[in-house]
């Protein structure tokens, strides 16, 4: 009966441990060829903003969707809405506008972008907007995991069939300059709502709620903006703002609308005699 070779076995284990330590701790593989879904959250936000800016410029929703898919968000629309809130909180209104518009376009709520007219003197001669869809550049697709290599390699772009760029002119466009009408203004006394809650609902001409609508609110020497569609659980055309008691606010849509002015949170009283600030509900509708 031969003895078990403990020395060899221990050496094997020791070597395995040392090799693992080298591979995981001392010299782990460098990441190259990462995918957008592996980016840090703040970089993902920047990536998303770039997608929204590109959509605002080119109006290509299929391309925007393909790009958003690369970020691996569980729900792209929720991710966009959350980011819009963060941008608004940081005062980055233009970027927030773009993100909200992309979110609205993804929800298919009738807001469509017409690419802005190019400045003729600056347009390159070789841009051919009418090229067939098959000539569009492929959007890179994301593998399930990053590729780790010790030397950076350029992987050939995988093809991704991008459908024709729809230049959306069929859907109703809230045209700048066409003034929305203030069709309802109610003061509310509901102790279940937050104090001073100003609710705004924006409808299109068919009475469907419109997300992504900027609302300008002014009081004393201050001004702020908020947007519909950031609380989709309350309706795509819904937005709200908390008013401070005893201050008069004026509200209008950023695209142009009737002005609801002199809005001071009404003084309300519960059945038990407690005082609280009520709110308002304003409804704007796009004229036919």
């Amino acid at each position: 009966m031969s003895r078990f070779p403990w020395g060899v076995f221990l050496a094997l284990l020791l070597g395995f441990g040392a090799g693992l330590a080298y591979a995981w701790v001392i010299s782990p593989l460098q990441v190259v060829d990462a995918v957008p879904s592996a980016l840090r959250d703040d970089f993902k936000d920047q990536y998303r903003s770039a997608i929204a800016a590109a959509y605002a410029g080119a109006g290509n929703i299929e391309r925007a969707q393909a790009r958003l898919a690369l970020l691996g968000d569980t729900n792209s629309i929720e991710a966009l809405n959350a980011q819009a809130q963060r941008l608004l909180a940081n005062g980055e209104f233009q970027s927030a506008d773009q993100v909200v518009l992309l979110s609205a376009a993804l929800q298919g709520n009738g807001i469509a972008l017409v690419p802005p007219p190019s400045t003729p003197s600056m347009q390159p001669a070789d841009i051919q907007p009418s090229l067939p869809p098959s000539t569009l550049s492929p959007i890179p697709t994301s593998p399930t995991q990053e590729i780790f290599t010790s030397t950076p390699e350029v992987t050939p772009t995988q093809t991704f069939a991008v459908a024709a760029t729809p230049r959306p002119t069929q859907t109703p466009i809230p045209t700048i300059g066409v003034s929305f009408k203030l069709i309802a203004q109610e003061s509310l006394c509901d102790s279940n709502l937050p104090d001073g809650l100003l609710q705004v609902l924006v409808l299109n001409s068919n009475r469907r709620q419109m997300p992504g609508m900027g609302i300008r609110i002014t009081w004393e020497t201050n001004e702020d903006r908020f947007f519909t569609g950031l609380k989709p659980e309350l309706g795509n055309g819904y937005a709200d703002f908390l008013m401070t008691p005893n201050i008069a606010y004026s509200v209008q849509l950023a695209q142009g609308s009737d002005v609801a002015s002199g809005l001071i949170a009404p003084a309300c009283q519960t059945s038990s005699g407690e005082h609280y600030s009520g709110g308002f509900k304003l409804t704007f509708q796009q004229p036919k």
């Binding site: 591979a23 990462a34 605002a56």
Partner: protein, 115 residues
């Protein structure tokens, strides 16, 4: 006889090291997350440059485009855009997209960086 036994031990040690490295680098490498954009694959970088170019075609603000490209780190915006254009040309991006990136590169080259 004793030397023969030590030879097996050393051999086993080296086999163990090799197996450990194979396991740690190939079978179950370290999971990476929270990465920075400079680690993105070349086609994703080129597509990002294309996004910036599409936006630039609309807003015509090279400073804003430069800020968007700064996501890739310390390289100059012109250099980042040029690399994107090189990749796009080598990988047969559509002509309109190449033209957009070229337009961005030209604008960044002419941009002084002073607002």
């Amino acid at each position: 006889m004793k030397i023969h036994r030590w030879l097996f031990v050393v051999l086993a040690l080296f086999i163990g090291i090799g197996a450990g490295i194979v396991y740690g680098w190939i079978i179950d490498p370290v999971d990476f997350f929270n990465l920075t954009p400079d680690t993105l694959r070349a086609d994703f970088k080129a597509d990002y440059v294309l996004m910036v170019a599409e936006a630039y075609h609309s807003h015509r603000d090279p400073g804003l485009s430069a800020r968007q490209l700064a996501i890739f780190g310390s390289q100059s915006p012109t250099s980042i855009a040029s690399q994107g254009w090189t990749y796009a040309r080598a990988n047969q991006f559509a002509e309109p997209d190449l033209a957009l990136i070229q337009e961005l590169v030209t604008a960044l080259q002419a941009w002084s960086g002073i607002p």
